[in-house]
C-alpha cells in the first residue's frame, strides 16, 4: 500500500487529488442536470425533484444540517463526560 501512502503523504500529489475531487463534483452535478433529460427523461414523484441538480444540492444541505444540528444538540443538551454513568 505504498502507493496510497505516497499519494496522501506528498503535499503536491495530495493537492492534485483535491483538484480532481472538485472536478469530479462538477461533472457529477452536471451529469445530474443533463443526463436524465437526455436519456429516459425524468420520473419524479415530487416537483422539487425536477429542480436542476436536486440530489447534489439536497446532499450538501443535508450534510451541513446534520452536522450543525447534531453538534448543537450535543453541546447544549446531550453530551456528557465519558465517565458520566460511572460516577
Amino acid at each position: 500500500m505504498n502507493f496510497l501512502e505516497s499519494q496522501l503523504e506528498d503535499p503536491v500529489r495530495f493537492t492534485r487529488i483535491k483538484r480532481w475531487f472538485y472536478v469530479g463534483l462538477a461533472v457529477v452535478a452536471l451529469a445530474e442536470i443533463v443526463l436524465p433529460r437526455v436519456f429516459g427523461g425524468l420520473h419524479s414523484h415530487f416537483s422539487f425533484e425536477s429542480f436542476p441538480a436536486w440530489g447534489s444540492l439536497y446532499g450538501l444541505a443535508s450534510c451541513v444540517a446534520i452536522i450543525v444540528v447534531s453538534k448543537a444538540l450535543g453541546k447544549l443538551w446531550l453530551m456528557r463526560r465519558e465517565d458520566y454513568y460511572d460516577s
Binding site: M1, S44, F46, A53, S62, C63, I66
Partner: protein
C-alpha cells in the same frame, strides 16, 4: 415434527452442543458444517406448513414456510455461516454455542406460525444474545449485558402479556396480520414488544448500550438477528400500520444525529443500525407491495453489509485494543485489506450504485414517493446522506486516515478476512445483479433501481455530502464524550429512585407515616383493647365464676343426699314413687 421437515433453528440449537465435545480441526469443521447445513436446509425447503404440534388445545406451528419466512431464513442462516467463519479463531466454546443458539432462535422466530412458539424463540434469542455481551468478561461488558438482559426480559413480558390478552380476546394463537384487533390493548402490547426489539426510540437505547460492549465476534452476530427478526415480525403482524411510517422515518434521522456525536467506533455503527432499521420500519408502515419488498430487501442487504462493517471495526478493535476514534488514525498503512473490505460495506450502507444498499434502500424511498409522503421522502433521503457522512466518511477517515496515532496494527487473522471478503462479495453481487435478491421477495418485483435519474442524483447527493464533510472536517473531530440517550432513565433514573427511597422516602416513613400510624391506629387499638380487657375481667369473669360458685354450693347440698347406703336410696325411691302416684291421681 415430521421427518420430511427438519427445523434449521433446532438443528443449530441442538447441534451447537456438539462443539464442546470436539477438538481442533474437527471442531472448526463442525462450526462451519452446522450453519451450512441450516442454510442448505432452508434453500431446499418448499412452501407449506410443517411441524404442527398440539398444546393446551392450541395448534403450535413451528414451520410456517412461505416466501416471506424463506427469504429471512436464507439471510439468517447465511449470516450464521459468515459469523462462524469470522469467529473460527476464537477459543471459547461458550461463545460458539450461544452464537449458534442465537441464530437458531432467529430462525425459530422466522418459521413460527403461532405466537406461543414465537415467544419461546424470542426469549431464547434474548438470553443467548445477552450472553454474547457478558462473555467479553469485562466489568463494563457485564454491566451492559445485565442491562441488556433486563430490558429484553421486560420486552418479553410485555410480549407474553400481549399474547395472553390476544388469546383470551380471539381464542386463537395464530400469528398473522394483527390488523383486525388494531388499536386494542393486545395489539398495542405485542407491537410495543416488537418495536423494542427493533430498537425503535425511545425503546431502543439498549442497542447502542450493549453492542459496543459485546465480544468482537459476538457483536457481528448481534447486528443481524435481534432487530431484523423484529422487522420480520412487524412485516408479518403489522403491515400498513400508519404509526410505523413516522416512527421509522424518525428513527432513520435519530440514529444519524447520535452518530455525529459518537466517538466509540462500534457504537457509531450501532446508531446506524437504528437508522437503517428505520427504513425497514417505515417500509412496513407504508405497507404497499413495493414498500414491503423494500423492507425485506433492505433487511437482507443490511444484515450482510452491517455484519461486514462490524467485522471491520471488530478487526481494528482486536488488533489495536482501542475502541475510540480519537485514539485511532493512520491504520491504512498497515491494514489496507481491512480498509478495502470495510469500504465495500460502507459503500453498500451508503447506497452507492453497484453496491447492495442502492438496490434495496431506494425501494423504500420510492415507495414513500409513490405514496406521496413528501416529508417522509425528504427525511429518508436526509438520513441517507447522513449514513454516507458517518459510515462512509467520518468513521473510515478517523479510523484509517486522519492524524496518525503511530499504531502499526497488522491485518487480522485470515479467517476474519475471509468472512469479510465473503460478506463484501455478497454486497457487490446484490448491487450488480439485484434480480438475484428480487426473485426471493414476498411480492413480484416491478422496480428498476438503475435509471439514469436515480444513479446521477444518488452520485450527486453522495459527492456533495463528501464536499460538506471535508468543508466541516475541523468541526467533526471525535470528542472524548458520551451522549445521553433514553437508557438514562434506567441507568441514572434508577439511581435517583434508590436515593429517593433511601433518604426522603425513608425519612418520611419514619418521621411522619409511623407517627400518624401510632396516633391513628396504634393508640386507639390499644385503648379499645384495654377496655375489652377490663370488661372481660369484671363482667365476664364474674359471671363465669358466679356460675362456678353456685355449681359448687349446689354440689355441697347434693353431696349429703348421696350417702352410699342402699336403704337411703330405697327410701328416696319410695318417696318419689308415692309423690308420683299422688301427682297422677291429683291430675286425673
Amino acid at each position: 415434527m415430521t421427518l420430511e421437515w427438519v427445523h434449521p433453528g433446532i438443528l443449530l440449537i441442538l447441534g451447537a452442543w456438539l462443539l464442546p465435545f470436539l477438538k481442533g480441526r474437527l471442531k472448526r469443521t463442525a462450526m462451519l458444517v452446522l450453519p451450512a447445513a441450516a442454510l442448505v436446509d432452508c434453500l431446499l425447503m418448499m412452501p407449506g406448513t410443517y411441524g404442527v404440534a398440539s398444546f393446551l388445545g392450541q395448534e403450535l406451528v413451528f414451520g410456517r414456510v412461505d416466501s416471506l419466512s424463506l427469504v429471512f431464513s436464507y439471510v439468517f442462516s447465511l449470516m450464521a455461516l459468515l459469523g462462524m467463519v469470522y469467529s473460527l479463531h476464537v477459543e471459547d466454546d461458550c461463545q460458539h454455542v450461544t452464537a449458534l443458539t442465537y441464530a437458531g432462535g432467529a430462525l425459530g422466530v422466522t418459521f413460527a406460525g403461532d405466537l406461543l412458539s414465537l415467544y419461546v424463540f424470542w426469549e431464547l434469542m434474548a438470553i443467548s444474545s445477552s450472553l454474547l455481551v457478558l462473555l467479553r468478561r469485562e466489568p463494563s461488558a457485564v454491566a451492559a449485558g445485565f442491562r441488556y438482559l433486563l430490558v429484553h426480559v421486560f420486552g418479553g413480558l410485555i410480549l407474553l402479556a400481549g399474547i395472553v390478552l390476544y388469546w383470551s380476546e380471539t381464542g386463537s394463537l395464530a400469528f398473522g396480520d394483527m390488523g383486525a384487533s388494531s388499536g386494542g390493548l393486545a395489539w398495542a402490547m405485542i407491537l410495543a414488544a416488537f418495536l423494542l426489539n427493533a430498537a425503535v426510540p425511545p425503546l431502543g437505547a439498549w442497542l447502542p448500550d450493549a453492542y459496543p460492549e459485546a465480544t468482537v465476534t459476538g457483536a457481528v452476530f448481534m447486528t443481524a438477528f435481534t432487530t431484523k427478526s423484529a422487522v420480520y415480525a412487524l412485516i408479518r403482524g403489522y403491515p400498513g400500520a400508519e404509526i410505523l411510517v413516522w416512527v421509522g422515518a424518525l428513527m432513520a434521522v435519530y440514529g444519524v444525529v447520535y452518530a455525529v456525536l459518537e466517538n466509540d467506533a462500534r457504537r457509531l455503527l450501532a446508531y446506524h443500525i437504528i437508522s437503517q432499521v428505520g427504513y425497514m420500519v417505515c417500509g412496513v408502515g407504508i405497507g404497499t407491495a413495493l414498500a414491503t419488498n423494500g423492507a425485506t430487501a433492505h433487511a437482507f442487504a443490511h444484515i450482510l453489509y452491517k455484519a461486514l462493517l462490524f467485522m471491520g471495526a471488530g478487526a481494528v478493535l482486536q488488533m489495536t485494543g482501542v475502541r475510540k476514534l480519537s485514539e485511532m488514525g493512520g491504520l491504512y498503512k498497515t491494514m489496507p485489506v481491512t480498509l478495502g473490505l470495510y469500504m465495500i460495506g460502507a459503500f453498500a450502507i451508503s447506497a452507492v450504485p453497484l453496491f447492495s444498499g442502492f438496490v434495496s434502500k431506494s425501494m423504500v424511498i420510492s415507495a414513500a414517493g409513490e405514496a406521496h409522503q413528501g416529508l417522509i421522502f425528504l427525511m429518508l433521503t436526509l438520513a441517507s446522506a447522513g449514513t454516507f457522512l458517518h459510515t462512509g466518511l467520518k468513521l473510515p477517515y478517523f479510523m484509517f486516515f486522519g492524524v496518525d496515532s503511530g499504531r502499526r496494527a497488522q491485518e487480522p487473522p485470515t479467517n476474519m478476512l475471509v468472512a469479510m471478503g465473503l460478506a463484501a462479495a455478497a454486497c457487490v453481487l446484490i448491487g450488480v445483479f439485484p434480480g438475484l435478491l428480487y426473485a426471493y421477495l414476498p411480492f413480484p418485483v416491478d422496480y428498476v433501481p438503475y435509471t439514469m435519474q436515480h444513479v446521477t442524483s444518488t452520485l450527486g447527493m453522495l459527492g456533495f455530502t463528501a464536499l460538506g464533510f471535508f468543508l466541516l472536517l475541523k468541526h467533526l473531530d471525535p470528542e472524548p464524550a458520551m451522549s445521553l440517550d433514553t437508557d438514562w432513565f434506567y441507568r441514572r433514573g434508577s439511581v435517583g429512585f434508590v436515593r429517593l427511597v433511601q433518604k426522603p422516602l425513608a425519612r418520611l416513613e419514619y418521621d411522619f407515616v409511623s407517627e400518624i400510624y401510632e396516633f391513628v391506629i396504634q393508640r386507639p387499638v390499644l385503648a379499645v383493647a384495654n377496655l375489652l380487657r377490663k370488661f372481660d375481667s369484671t363482667v365476664i369473669d364474674t359471671g363465669i365464676m358466679g356460675v362456678g360458685h353456685s355449681a359448687q354450693s349446689l354440689g355441697q347440698v347434693l353431696k349429703t343426699v348421696a350417702s352410699g347406703h342402699t336403704q337411703h336410696y330405697g327410701l328416696i325411691m319410695a318417696v318419689g314413687i308415692l309423690a308420683l302416684v299422688a301427682l297422677i291421681s291429683l291430675v286425673s
